[in-house]
Symmetry: C2
Subunit: 110 residues, 2 copies
DNA sequence: CTGTCATTTCGATGATAATAAAAACATGGA
DNA sequence: TCCATGTTTTTATTATCATCGAAATGACAG
């Protein structure tokens, strides 16, 4: 994952409603939830919810699949893995964030 | 780390200039860099840089210490650890993001 | 085809963010 | 003290974001 998509993914999660949506989708697993159910559980108006889902989908954090008349959104765990990996590699020096010791690993991004 | 501070930390990193600043500070280690040096290396105007550093500091991602006439900013690795931990626990189900086993076909209907 | 339900798009509005020039605020040396 | 330098605030401008009602789109059942 490079800088630009990392910023996009972080920005997608850096919003209370969207983070709540994503966490809910993580919780329910690969099956996901349809838009109406998400809105009902988080108390988000349809238009607002659609807006946030579009941003999450655009950032690659969620996938959408049509099932009957409903559209089910589910968390994309690979994308999440990518974000965690990016942060770990680029912002922790590759380790689970060491205790401020000599660090000379260089980042692999330009 | 709870939801609100997680959003704040993610928002602080969800900006190209700030992410670049933070990565630079991670790279140079605990010693950090003074504002002028950061600005010189990233080509950011003083006022803009101060604005972003304030946001990073406010989110707890960087620490500032005065040294002579200069103010050195350094990455706060614990805070970074906290973010990674939050994402892993809340958005990956506690695991390093599960395998692609239960993953269905990805039919994004954008 | 037609009606209905689920979701998205449109249009508008208030809120927040990023940027930079200029002024103000430190801090340390002369 | 006074000056020079490093950093932050102020002020203003511009751009982007979050929200919602209303209208439009899309999908299925009959």
């Amino acid at each position: 994952m490079e800088m630009k998509s990392a910023v996009a993914a972080l920005a997608a999660l850096a919003q209370e409603t969207r983070l709540a949506i994503f966490r809910l989708l993580v919780e329910v697993g690969p099956q996901g939830l349809c838009v109406g159910d998400i809105g009902a559980r988080l108390r988000v108006a349809p238009a607002t919810l659609s807006f946030h889902l579009a941003q999450l989908a655009n950032a690659g954090l969620v996938d959408a699949r049509q099932q009957s008349r409903f559209i089910f959104y589910s968390a994309n765990f690979e994308a999440m893995n990518g974000i965690v990996g990016f942060l770990t590699e680029n912002c922790c020096g590759g380790k689970p964030c060491p205790p401020a010791k000599a660090r000379r690993r260089k980042s692999t991004i330009s």
